[in-house]
């Protein structure tokens, strides 16, 4: 298993481990536990945004709306209709995905900035529906006493630590799905669309259908995040579905790193932490946060995780170049001709340290840094 030697995977596992251990440190502090758990719910929705924005390159601004639909479905069904949490959660997630798919049918007829504006409009319509349709959603009085998940006598989900672990496990599944997508041909399909729709089309990618499914998948994650959020906080109001929420998610993913596996989680936790830190400033906290985010976008446009990933690639490459020189396998590539001159080694494993390809053109180093994040080669290591 070369996977355990991959610094990216080690880093992701380390982040997950730290978060898994937070109840040990803060288990008695209900407020802190709740802030962290709410953060994890947001992170799940941000993983949805990662699929449509990070992988597919389409700026969807409907994610806050999908989050709200998930939250209100669980909220209303468990209170006014007295369903169990699990039934309501299932309906919420399936319903959000279906609404995502249907709105995608229209939204994806538009492109680029028009798509962003259109999806923002979808998000706004969802918000308006929730905040004005008083007979169903109670509008600004919100939904009280949303149920905790039922578990018989096995565990008690009203305990913040138990609830934390439920959300954490579902988040783990989302992280894994992101990882699996990214290293599969599905992820490659989405990344080709992000790079060039025309070229993707020319190599046989069904661009329309792929975007459609990616958009539905982003709604799916939004629904999961929202449904859990409703149960974690117990009370929800229309602010669970605002467009502000979408931009919050967007900030999380920008800070963490678009198109990366760990980025959404890292970004969400860090920005949530900063929010809490500057809470005394209330609305003015953005005066402090704004410059921090601008600095990040300027100095680490690929987010924190993308930035660290660059270091990892650089180091791996230097090691490869170093060991190739030591083995004396460096060879000139000045002639690049003729059919079938391919060297017969052909063990193109990513972890093959003596790969002669890396040895002769150190000039490619800077450019290659950006490559690893764009289309993954992880398939090779199996």
């Amino acid at each position: 298993m070369s996977a355990l030697k991959n610094p990216r995977i080690i880093g992701t596992l380390a982040v997950l481990l730290i978060i898994a251990l937070t109840p040990v440190a803060f288990g008695d502090e209900n407020y802190i536990m709740r802030v962290i758990t709410v953060g994890l719910c947001s992170a799940i929705a941000v993983y949805g945004m990662n699929i449509i924005l990070g992988f597919t390159g389409q700026l969807s601004l409907a994610q806050g709306g999908f989050f709200g639909i998930g939250a209100y479905t669980v909220g209303l069904l468990t209170t006014d209709f007295d369903w169990s949490f699990w039934q309501a959660f299932l309906v919420g997630v399936v319903g959000t995905s279906a609404i995502g798919y249907l709105s995608g049918l229209i939204a994806l007829r538009t492109k680029d900035e028009y798509f962003a504006i259109f999806t923002m409009a979808i998000g706004f319509i969802i918000y308006l529906t929730i905040s004005r349709w008083e007979a169903v959603t109670h509008a600004h009085s919100g939904v009280n006493n949303v149920k905790f998940p039922e578990a018989g006598d096995i565990v008690d989900f009203s305990n913040p630590t138990v609830m934390f672990y439920l959300v954490f496990i579902i988040l783990l599944i989302c992280v894994y799905i992101t990882y699996a997508i990214r290293r599969s041909s599905v992820g490659r399909t989405l990344l080709t669309i992000r790079t060039s729709e025309d070229l993707a089309d020319a190599i046989g990618v069904n661009v329309g259908l792929s975007k459609q499914l990616a958009f539905a998948a982003s709604a799916f994650f939004g629904g999961i995040g929202g449904g859990l959020y409703a149960s974690v906080v117990g009370f929800i109001g229309p602010d669970a579905a605002t467009v502000d929420k979408t931009f919050e998610f967007l900030m999380f993913i920008l800070v963490g790193g678009m198109g990366t596996v760990a980025g959404p989680l890292v970004g969400t936790m860090i920005v949530t932490f900063l929010f809490e830190l500057f809470q005394d400033f209330q609305a003015y906290r953005f005066i402090v946060l704004g410059p921090i985010i601008i600095a990040l976008v300027i100095f680490a446009p690929r987010g924190i995780v993308g930035y660290l990933g660059g270091f990892i690639d650089k180091r791996a490459r230097n090691r490869r170049i170093g060991s190739a020189h030591k083995d004396g396998t460096a060879q000139s590539h000045s002639t690049a001709e003729a059919n079938g001159t391919a060297t017969p080694d052909d063990s193109v494993r990513a972890d093959n340290t003596a790969d002669s390809d890396g040895s002769t053109r150190p000039g490619t180093a800077e450019r290659r840094e950006t490559a690893a994040d764009t289309i993954t080669t992880e398939d090779e290591e199996k």
Partner: protein
């Protein structure tokens, strides 16, 4: 007949970019389309491949009507193409580029990826082997870990062919595949194109380098102002007075 084009036309506003073109592409052959700039060669390709919808005529491939089909279903049906300006995923390695060409032949879906099914593993390995084989066939396997933007123009052109090959086509549309390649390297590149039919890939080719065309093509279609001027073997075309007047006589070997 592999590809049959009948009465194909495309009007942009009042302008006939392509008008009433008939063309047969035989299996195992290299067919070339030549003509002065603006003669409608690239438009013809875009019509065949589905980027444009024809305003008249039909295209059938292996006896199936594909006149209205979209590019991705054309690729799925066995028609690959390369572009005039080389189109690659610049910030990916050559291997990743060619792997992208395998997407259309991949059956495993997101659930296979999530549950890491045997089908997913088998397919990943197969895709990798096929991609590498395509790179080797095109003679650029040694550059596989280099970024597409960092390799010489000729390697990029060869990679574009490898990417098209990875989709397992029966017919490949090559739009000026040797454009931008230094004169002394075109012979090598011509050899690559010539070896395609032996893999079961027939070729339809647009090219400006006349020496290369005359050397490679079995059949040549000459377009002028979107219409067929002549069709025949290289020898017939070279001696056709209409062609000489419209094209060869004035612009011979001067381009690129």
């Amino acid at each position: 007949m592999l590809l049959e084009i009948r009465g194909l036309g495309k009007r942009f506003g009042g302008l006939d970019a392509v008008k009433n073109v008939d063309l047969d592409v035989q299996e195992g052959q290299i067919t070339a389309v030549i003509g002065p700039n603006g003669a409608g060669k690239s438009t013809l390709f875009n019509l065949i491949h589905g980027f444009y919808r024809p305003t008249a005529g039909t295209v059938s491939f292996n006896g199936r009507d594909i006149t209205q089909s979209s590019p991705h279903s054309s690729v799925n049906g066995g028609i690959a193409r390369t572009f005039q300006t080389t189109h690659l995923f610049d910030d990916s390695t050559l291997l990743e580029n060619v792997l992208a060409g395998r997407i259309v032949r991949s059956k495993s879906n997101v659930f296979d990826a999530i549950f890491h099914t045997p089908r997913h593993r088998r397919e990943s390995a197969l895709n990798h082997d096929k991609a590498l084989e395509a790179l080797e066939f095109c003679g650029v396997a040694e550059f596989r870990h280099d970024l597409a933007s960092n390799v010489p123009q000729e390697v990029q052109k060869r990679t574009a062919v490898a990417m098209a090959l990875a989709t397992e086509p029966e017919l490949m549309l090559l739009d000026e595949p040797a454009g931008g390649i230094p004169e002394e390297e075109t012979t090598d590149f011509g050899n690559l194109i010539r070896s395609l039919p032996s893999r079961g890939v027939s070729v339809l080719l647009v090219e400006h380098k006349m020496s290369m065309i005359m050397d490679l093509a079995d059949t040549i279609l000459v377009l002028d102002h979107g219409q067929k001027l002549a069709i025949g073997s290289p020898a017939e075309i070279q001696s056709n007075p209409d062609v000489i007047r419209a094209y060869l006589g004035s612009t011979k070997d001067e381009e690129n």
